[in-house]
Symmetry: C2
Subunit: 359 residues, 2 copies
């Protein structure tokens, strides 16, 4: 089936209207929409409007608070803990990043650990908020447990992404945004819809044996940490996912490890809740707290240029710099529109009908 | 061959004497020795006394300054750039970490990017310096280019490790310390000595084809980023290695990417030097700048306990927490001594003879 094409402005108006119907303030509705659609624009289709109905189900279940009182629980000149009051992570993480940026402006860096939040969309969007201030931005979040640590069959961690955005001069910014697993869950969903198997090394079955079944998570299986198995460094992917959990939840007082609340509203909350909601970690480093931003950007241009000139393994595929594929998707989709799969369009039509809106 | 066993105190006295003969101050000789031997104690044999002669060769070549004037180039309340003056990274990184810790004491966090340094031993040692202050420690460094980015045949990055250490209460601390490659270079050296092949996914040949030749780096081949190939997430390992380079060198003004000075003194310096020496990045986050250290440690104990109780894939291998294998090695080697391979002992005997010392 050919996907339907929607302009950014159409999807933006629609999504904002939905968040307003949920009771969000105008400011929050706009913030949430921009964070959510950044995924669609950047080609990360699993995290964009395809998830809008998921947020609505969580709101209906009382797990998302559309009118949160987001507040600083504790702070120092360079750090803070933020309580998201059960709000949309899409909004809460941006508030946290603004605090990190302001602290970086004052004392060189700012680090905000967030409790009592929800799914925040793509990590890269929040990290990139620092770029316009000539700062390096970082964003992490924990997530529903889908990943087994090395040598285990238990799902103990989420796909726990790490994003780092750094400005350049003439070159576009460096934007790394990666799940700490071999493959993100969204990649499995794509294969499920295509009725295809996964490559070896993405998932294991409930006994811990290698599997290529894209539906294995529903059968007790798990995603594997980046590295896939011990021989190929899965203990490193596991350690990185663990670091994200520590920074996002242990520092803030959010839920951690297998006790992170699930994204699908039909999955019951874990019986045990050692903290509040899910956790994020946002950071900003002011470039000129280290060296002149101009010098840094010249070096970044030189660094990026070096990688662009690196010899490719074959003529068909150039060497990429982190952020290249997403930026190319962004430029294309801003110009030509955002393709949505039929199943997503149907889902959005359901949302439209629920709120008496038109798509 | 059975390895010879040396006590920690024997190796410590010898190594200190060597650094003193190089002209290091007593303080620096002790600092360098403790950082270097931390690798032997923690079972990371590639980074301990096996490298002592390598540091001496660099000193003889005028690439290591035994009496550096380490100075802060620029700073804000939470950040600094440190010039290592060509000193031993083993010492310079510790000085940087002390500055980070002091800044964290003052304003909640401290971040120090270092230029003009040399190989700093194991990243984990420097990160762990924060633990006694109830802080989370972080350490990164760039290194000689051995790693090809995804889709490239050029060696553009080092194995660029990331270490994060976080205190717990009754449980031992969490210590993640990982090269951002599928396998570190030290693992290849072990296979070279055993005349064994590598597993698939560790290295590629000069054309970018998969290889299992443990000697392939000398034949134009490269180490692969964590993830091994695009399908298994090598672009993520590449992005993480790149982030380490940005933090360590682009923020400090050190050399970066393929222009990082090589560790072996017989390898000529790169013709181009866009910065000074090699770069590190050290960070400290004060726990109670977020929440009470006591609460944090209770949560860490609960977190670690959860992973220790996770179901194993088989009865022979328990689920580990980052830092477990190195701590077990530490306890064993402190009690029973440090085994050194014959080739390392011979190398140290050469060092002893050069400096009129006895091992």
């Amino acid at each position: 089936m050919t996907p339907a094409i929607f302009s950014y402005s159409t999807l933006k108006a629609f999504t904002e209207a939905v968040f307003l119907k949920m009771g969000c303030s105008h400011t929050h509705a706009t913030m949430a929409t921009e964070a959510l659609l950044a995924a669609d624009l950047r080609g990360i289709d699993s995290h964009g409007v395809a998830r809008l109905s998921g947020y609505i189900r969580l709101w209906e279940a009382g797990r998302i608070n559309a009118t949160p009182s987001i507040r600083v629980v504790h702070q120092t000149p360079s750090t803070a803990v933020l309580d998201g009051d059960g709000g949309l992570g899409l909004v809460v993480a941006q508030e946290a990043m603004q605090i990190a940026i302001e602290k970086a402006r004052q004392v060189g860096s700012g680090w905000v650990s967030v409790q009592n939040s929800n799914h925040f969309g793509i990590a890269g969007y929040h990290a990139m908020l620092a770029l316009q201030h000539d700062m390096i931005g970082m964003a992490m979040t924990n997530a529903s447990p889908l990943v087994a640590p090395t040598f285990s069959t238990d799902k103990m961690l989420g796909t726990n992404p790490i994003a780092v955005a750094a400005p350049a001069g003439k070159q576009p910014p460096f934007v790394a945004d990666l799940a700490t697993t071999t493959a993100a869950n969204g990649k499995l969903e794509i294969l499920q819809r295509k009725q295809q198997d996964t490559p070896t090394g993405w998932v294991q079955d409930k006994e811990g044996a290698s599997s290529t079944d894209a539906h294995i998570l529903k059968k007790g299986g798990s995603l594997l940490p980046l590295g896939s198995d011990r021989e190929h460094g899965s203990h490193k992917g596991y350690a990185l996912g663990a670091v994200v959990d520590l920074f996002s939840a242990l520092l803030s007082g959010a839920n951690y490890a297998p006790w992170v609340p699930p994204f699908p509203a039909y999955v019951p909350m874990p019986a045990r809740q050692p903290g509040k909601g899910i956790g994020h970690f946002l950071g900003a480093l002011r470039i000129d707290a280290f060296r002149s931003a101009e010098e840094f950007k010249e070096s970044m241009d030189d660094w990026i240029g070096g990688f662009r000139k690196a010899a490719p393994t074959d003529d068909q595929q150039k060497v990429l710099v982190p952020g290249d594929p997403e930026r190319e998707a962004f430029e294309q989709r801003m110009a030509l529109g955002i393709p949505l799969e039929e199943v997503v369009v149907k889902d959005l039509q359901g949302v439209a009908s629920q709120f008496s809106l038109t798509l």
